[in-house]
Assembly symmetry: C2
Homo-oligomer: 352 residues x 2
């Protein structure tokens, strides 16, 4: 591989020579540490200006040990939920003069492990991760730098975490459906489970998924719906078999009369699938989804959503992490942000 000529950059030594002082003194002025007399300071700054000196952040990081950047690993930047959260993170980071190195896990643990390894090798000062999978968290446990979790808590991991009140949100949303008379309610999520579910919610390690399901089941139990756990559908991401499963779900004789979707991407797919089946919302089927995505307010009918404070979620987790970077050593905090339900027109009475 050919080495690019690499413009010989102006270094501290160059500036020192120009200003006729020692490298150490020039470094003090340029690096903003130690004490320097006013006259010398002015001379060095003048020389730096003349030479168009630009500090090499990498070299600085080498000695200081801190790189001034944090790594963010999200499931999928394409998902508006994550892009908004990332926006929150980077706004806060910028305010503290910290950069964000972004990595996509594609909700795949191996990719996540790899991303973390690379980010760590780049000496990021801290990490914000949205753990892709419930089961494997060994690689998260052995992270040496400050770590904060976004949207998904891991009970076994005592680190700063920001989530929303998933269980309660799911409970309230499901209640909206049971109160409208629905009995066959499906919960659809893109999350994949390692192994069989069989109603053992405690087996799900990813808090977001587990809490929501618990809330869903709470509401079902409240309404006296038996075996509600059978109506929970995992793995509804964007794939062939996920689509097929969705078609099967909607096409079956005893199809649900109401659906609670775990994110707006799944919900959009559901919305389209429902329409393709010739079904009507809310007449034939009611729909509620997590995340107040753009599109949910402009469909016909507009969709009732659980409005998560996504930007605030990103903002808070970044604030927590940065506080930690500054030396805060309080015990890990688990912030739970409240959600609100925005009732629109996608919930109707059960026809059954």
């Amino acid at each position: 591989m050919k080495r690019p000529p690499k413009a010989p950059s102006v270094t501290v030594s160059d500036v020192a020579r120009e200003a006729k002082v020692s490298k150490a003194t020039a470094a003090r002025v340029l690096g903003g540490y130690g004490t320097v007399s006013e006259t010398v300071r002015a001379a060095v700054l003048e020389a730096a200006r003349a030479l168009d000196y630009r500090p090499n952040e990498l070299a600085r990081s080498m000695t200081t040990g801190r790189s001034g950047s944090i790594g963010v690993v999200v499931g999928d930047i394409e998902n508006p939920f994550f892009s908004l959260a990332v926006r929150g993170i980077s706004d806060v980071a910028r305010l503290s003069g910290i950069n964000v190195i972004l990595a996509n896990s594609g909700e795949d643990v191996e990719a996540e492990k790899n991303a973390i390894r690379v980010l760590l090798a780049k000496q990021v000062d801290g990490l914000i991760v949205t753990p892709a999978q419930s089961g494997e968290i060994a690689h998260l446990k052995e992270i040496a730098c400050p770590l904060a979790l976004l949207d998904r808590a891991l009970p076994e991991l005592a680190v700063d975490t920001v989530t929303v009140d998933d269980r309660n949100a799911a409970l309230r949303a499901t209640r909206l459906l049971t109160q409208a008379g629905h009995r066959r309610i499906a919960y659809v999520t893109a999350a994949v489970l390692s192994g069989e579910f069989r109603g053992a919610a405690s087996k799900i390690n990813t808090s977001t998924v587990r809490e929501r399901i618990l809330g869903f089941l709470d509401a079902c139990r409240e309404a006296g719906i038996a075996r509600a756990d059978r109506n929970i559908h995992f793995g509804s991401g964007r794939s062939e078999q996920a689509n097929a499963a969705m078609q099967r779900l909607l096409g079956s004789e005893d199809r649900p009369t109401a659906i609670l979707a775990s994110d707006s991407v799944v919900a959009l797919d559901l919305f389209k699938a429902i329409r393709e089946c010739g079904l009507s919302i809310p007449r034939d089927i009611s729909l509620i989804t997590f995340h107040n995505a753009d599109w949910t307010s402009v469909t016909t009918p507009p969709i009732t959503v659980i409005d998560q404070p996504v930007y605030a979620l990103g903002k808070s987790v970044a604030e927590l992490l940065i506080r930690r970077l500054k030396g805060d050593d309080r015990p890990p905090e688990r912030i739970v942000l409240p959600t609100t339900i925005i009732e629109r027109m996608s919930v109707g009475p059960s026809e059954a």
Copy 2:
């Protein structure tokens, strides 16, 4: 500021000592360069494994001069257009083992300058930028590392650039409207202009904006529409006065009977505003927008869109940049990707 204890990391020297070889030899094995005998290689690898050695990417970058990461400066990751493009970029980058450092300009030149300065200080190997504003590009000209432009070309800047056929796309879209009998057609964009417009499209330095407007004007001229330049509305971002301007536009006596929106965010705002005014699409007003955003296919009526290959846009620009990093020194390439128009139900005959 308190210095975190900083776990003493395992270095090449540590591994060398453990394996009873010189630092140079250990480095050869660990760095994958030079020639080493099989026995020694095995010993070093074993020692590295035992000590759990992790390379320090920063130190490596120091000497090699390359950091293995590229900087990406976009207007707003929250905009689905950009998040999808970023997805394209990072997918390609990952394949080449390159990281992406993301920065948001918020479409503000000063923020853009700052972001570029910081990324350069971090020694990124290359930059992908979506220039925020037309006028100021001095800071782009003086960038020493490879630079590639995404979505927006700058004629004065001879660098790799990937755009879409904006002019032709706007022409075809506008034609769809003129052919439906529309005469009062508005073009609405979030871009802000430095100074007055007055029909002098050549004054607009950002290619995307200029080309689209030229295409729009072409079609209007073709249809014999006079003073079409009066119907071009700048600055329709998300702000109080932008909303007010939108209301004024839709509320006026001689409101347009058709609108071409320059991006899906603007279009969504327009869609909502139109509905709030009690107008109906396409009966009272026709709408076409750039970018086949999620929501455009699920509204009632679904929106006719100019489908840009956004993911490919990001993919291509990343490929171009990475090729350049590998030493390619062909003259800068300007790739123009074709768009297609997806006709849905938002264009109707003019009532006038």
